[in-house]
Symmetry: D2
Subunit: 160 residues, 4 copies
């Protein structure tokens, strides 16, 4: 069984047609798993629905705490890309003996042209085979939490 924690991020941004702006409603994760015809058993739980630029320490504590408490040893977290590395670092300090893979998207899934489904396929596969540790899966690549940074100019995650 794989635990999936949803925290928001671009991945789950949607268009509020009355307000004319991006907003968060429900996660698209279950729809994405259905589209991917995923047959691997998962628990999905939404922890929060925030832009990762708005994620505070107290929010990050919620993510860490939930990963620590989870019965599953394989955990995928959907997360905004801007502070994904910070959350990964917080997880690495506290979570032991589990494989945690963070992923996200550069374009909202609700847009036709999203990278979200590709990244979810990556993360869900990697969490089943990587040894315990905290990883980031983006751009068809994966990195240990302490060996990656997001290049803000290009939007690409790079090895450091």
């Amino acid at each position: 069984m794989i635990q999936i924690f949803v925290t928001g991020g671009t991945f789950d941004k949607t268009y509020d047609e009355i307000g004319g702006r991006l907003s968060f409603r429900d996660t698209h994760l279950n729809e994405m798993l259905r589209l991917g015809r995923a047959r691997v058993p998962v628990h999905v739980r939404t922890l929060m629905m925030v832009d990762s630029l708005d994620m505070r320490d107290v929010d990050r504590d919620v993510v860490v705490h939930n990963c620590m408490q989870a019965e599953e040893s394989q955990i995928v977290i959907t997360h905004g890309t801007d502070t994904m590395v910070e959350t990964a670092a917080a997880l690495a300090r506290a979570v032991v003996g589990k494989t945690v893979v963070l992923t996200g998207a550069m374009i909202p899934y609700a847009f036709g042209s999203s990278d979200g489904l590709f990244n979810l396929g990556s993360a869900l596969s990697l969490v089943q085979v990587l040894p315990p540790g905290v990883y980031i899966a983006m751009n068809g690549q994966h990195f240990r939490w302490d060996a990656v940074r997001k290049n803000r100019d290009t939007g690409v995650f790079e090895a450091v």
Copy 2:
């Protein structure tokens, strides 16, 4: 460097609007890698464009031969689902010391509702971490070539 071999299958079926039927033209693979914002270095080569029900032994030999000759030790093959297991078996008999991951789709990528992008994310990630051997990646799961069959009634790949 990862070698990607394209063989056709549902993955790459497209709609021929003059003839009003499904057909094959060019592969969608490069477009999908772009959509997924993949940054892992790949070679893409189209070996054939066939429905896997129409794949003959001589076609399968072409796939095997190309995998044997490839310089890369990480190979992804996009393939129709109906005979994916047969091709995997043929590869397992001939290719040694390489990680080969076959994947495909139940719905053409050109349809909005395809599982292809999800599966490509899976396969491209798995080929980087699995030990040498021949595998099938579908439905968010992966199987050794000799431990899987396609359930023709449900369209799902299952462990045997």
Copy 3:
């Protein structure tokens, strides 16, 4: 109130993922009206679900009969493009005092890249403003039933 009759055609073709071929299931029309946020009152009724190449005289009679019996004087018909002109001619011989607009698609709606939604917007608008008669609305154009043919080589409807 506008009456919409569904007869199938490329418009409503879908992909049968078990059989790996195009087929018909339910119409996508209600979903399309929802997507278009249409607020014009409509009745939707599926008369048949056929490729228009398979439409026989008896099927065409069903379409004609339903248009004659309809209480509404504004009727949209979704129809395969290959014999749309034949059905329009049959309607013109029998239906009087009503505005009937036939439309269809070159690419199934279920594909992301369909012209179906564009054509439905056209047809639904034209049926509200054109004088009684039988028309074909395709390619952002509209034609009287006796002033159009489908160019089979290009897939485009042309004035004759």
Copy 4:
């Protein structure tokens, strides 16, 4: 020949993946005409790329001036929905002897679930058949400029 003037609005909003927000780049109009397989001859000209809430009197003057100067007597304008009625009123005061149809979208075209293509099909058809005047085409309906308002709560255009 139909003149199409682009002014921005939700219709053409796109997602800026570096900034993580909605923005304007090039119009999607030509791509939409291609998708709709439109064969009606058009001129497309982008006048501005603004959210209609940010449209000032001076911008509205540009729209009016261009419609007055246009050689074509059939004009479609893509426009944000929030002040579409105001621009329609300004046009009605100045433009005579031409059919002008304003349209837009509640969801950006770049999202898969947009009403834009449906509305474009409507507007492009209506402009060819309606008598001279200024109209708004949304929700599968059309209204004279002085007989409509946008309901801000529901996002729907209604007769007044």
